[in-house]
C-alpha cells in the first residue's frame, strides 16, 4: 500500500527550481532510501514532505496524496505531526533529556505524569538509548555524545506518533558504531512506521532499504526495489552513480 503519492512535484527556493516533476509512491511500513549526489534536491524533497520547506523560504507545487487525501488540504501542523523529520545535524533542545521527549506530547495535551514517563521510557528504548541514559534522565541533552544526541532526536520525533519518519542523512556525522546502532533501530522501526531516509552512503541504502530512489539535478532518475536498482539499474546515469563514476 502506498501511504504517500507524489505526482509531478516541483519545489522552489525563490525563483530557483530545485525539484522537477517528481513522481514517487512511498510504500507503507517500508524503508525507502533516497540517494544522489550533493545538491540534487534530496533534502528539499524531505522538507517538502513535512512542509518545513516554507519555513526555509521555499514552496512546492504539484499533487501529493497522503493517506488517501490531498496533502495540501491538511493543516501544516498536522502534516508535521504525522510526518516527522530528523535533520542531518543532531539538534536536541537545550533542555533535559526528559523534557526533550515530553516537549511535544505536553503541547498535544498529555498532562498525566505517568503517561509522560511511559512515553519517555518507551521511545528511549525504541531508540536504543534507554540503558545509556536511564540513570540520569534530567541531565542536559547537550551533554550527550553526538550519536546519543541523534538517537535522542529520533526518539523525540517518535513522541508524537508520526506515521512517516523522514531522516536526512542521520548518520553523516557519526562513527561506524553509532551508525550501526541507528541502522538496527531503523530496521526495527520499519515494522510500525514508514521510513524515508536520505543518505550519501550507498552501502547503507543497500543494507537497510526496501526501495531506492535516485535523484539527479532535481529529477527522479530511477525508483524501484533496492535489489533491482543496485544490481540491474535501468538508467545509465544510475549505473554510473552506483559505480562511483560521479557523485
Amino acid at each position: 500500500m502506498n501511504i504517500l503519492e507524489l505526482l509531478s512535484l516541483n519545489s522552489y527556493y525563490g525563483h530557483e527550481q530545485v525539484l522537477y516533476g517528481i513522481n514517487l509512491a512511498i510504500r507503507k511500513n517500508a524503508i525507502t532510501a533516497v540517494i544522489g549526489p550533493s545538491g540534487c534536491g534530496k533534502s528539499t524533497l524531505l522538507l517538502t514532505l513535512n512542509r518545513m520547506l516554507e519555513e526555509c523560504g521555499g514552496r512546492a507545487e504539484g499533487e501529493i496524496t497522503f493517506a488517501g487525501k490531498d496533502f495540501f488540504s491538511y493543516p501544516k501542523e498536522e502534516i508535521r505531526r504525522r510526518i516527522g523529520i530528523v535533520f542531518q545535524k543532531p539538534s536536541p533542545f537545550p533542555l533535559s533529556i526528559y523534557r526533550n521527549l515530553t516537549y511535544a506530547p505536553v503541547y498535544y495535551g498529555v498532562r498525566d505524569k505517568k503517561k509522560l514517563n511511559e512515553i519517555v521510557e518507551s521511545k528511549l528504548k525504541v531508540a536504543g538509548l534507554y540503558e545509556e541514559v536511564q540513570a540520569d534522565l534530567h541531565k542536559s541533552a547537550l551533554q550527550l555524545s553526538g550519536g546519543q544526541q541523534q538517537r535522542l532526536c529520533i526518539a523525540r520525533a517518535l513522541t508524537v506518533e508520526p506515521e512517516i519518519l523522514l531522516l536526512d542523512e542521520p548518520c553523516s556525522a557519526l562513527d561506524i558504531k553509532n551508525t550501526a546502532n541507528i541502522e538496527q533501530m531503523l530496521l526495527k522501526l520499519a515494522q510500525d512506521y514508514t521510513i524515508v531516509i536520505v543518505t550519501h552512503n550507498l552501502a547503507q541504502a543497500k543494507r537497510i532499504s526496501d526501495y531506492t530512489a535516485f535523484l539527479l539535478n532535481g529529477e527522479l532518475v530511477e525508483y524501484g526495489e533496492t535489489k533491482k536498482v543496485f544490481s540491474r539499474p535501468q538508467d545509465r546515469r544510475t549505473w554510473e552513480y552506483i559505480e562511483g563514476i560521479y557523485g
Binding site: 519555513e55 502534516i79 508535521r80 505531526r81 535533520f87 545535524k89 516537549y103 503541547y107 523525540r156 508524537v160
Partner: protein, 279 residues
Amino acid sequence: MRKMENSRLFKLWMVVSTLIVLISVGFIIGYIVLNGIKSISLDFIISSPKGLPLGSEGGILPAIVGSLLLMLIACGFASFLALATAIYVVFYCQSSQIENIVHIIVQCMAGVPSIVIGLFGYTFLVAKLGLGRSLLSAGLTLGVMVFPFIEVRIEKSLQEFSTAALQSSYALGVSKAYTLFKLVLPQCKEDIVAAITLAGGFAMGATAPIILTGAVIFAPIPSSLSSPVMALPFHLYILTGEGISLEKAYATALVLITLIFAINIISIALTSRRKEVGS
C-alpha cells in the same frame, strides 16, 4: 624585528589605556567614598531632608525610594515594549524591509540626547496628556530612554538561539507561541533579566529626562503615581548646584553609586550563570 616592535607598542598601548581607565575610575570612586563615608549614617538613609536651606541636614530616604520607583516604572514599561518588539522582529516579521525600519528607529532612539527625551516627556506626557510632573511621567520618560538599550540586548539574545532547535520544534508541528514560551524564552531568561537590570542602573543614574517631568527638590515618599518625586541624581544636582551642602552631596553620590554598582553586579551574576549552564 619590525613585527616585534609593533607588538610591543601594541602591548604598551593596551596596558597604558587600561591603567588610565582603572586609575581614573578608581580615583573617582575612592574620592567619593572617602568624602561621603563621613556623612553616611543610618539616620541619613532613613530620614527626610531637613534644615534650611532644605537638604543641609537630615537624610535622603525619599530620594532613594523615588529613584527605585522610577527605575521600576521605567524598566517595567520599557521591557514590556522591548520584549514584544524583539520577539516580533526575530520570530514573526517576514519582511526584511520592516525589520530594517524597526532597527533604524531603535538605533535613532538610542542616539537621542537624554535632555531631548526629557523635553519630549514634558510636552507629550506632562502637558499634552495632562499627567503632570509626576512619578508616572518621569518613569515613562526614563522608559523611553532605556527602551532601545533593552531591545537591542534582548534581540541579540533571541537571535543567538539555535536555529536547528527552532526548526526541530516547528517540525514536530508545535506552534510558534509554544516554541517561544517553552523553549526560547526560558533559555534566554537570564540574558533578558540581565538586560533589564542593567537598564535599571542606567535609568537610575539619568537626570536630564526627569528634571522637567517629575523630579522635584523636595517631596515626601510618593503616595501615588501622580505625585511628584525626589530622585538621587537630581537631589545631588541641587545639593551641589545650589551650594547647599557638599558633605551631603558626597554622601548622596556614594549611595547612588553603591545602588548602581549593586544592580550591575546582579546583572553580571545573572549573565555568567547563563554561560555556565549553557556550556
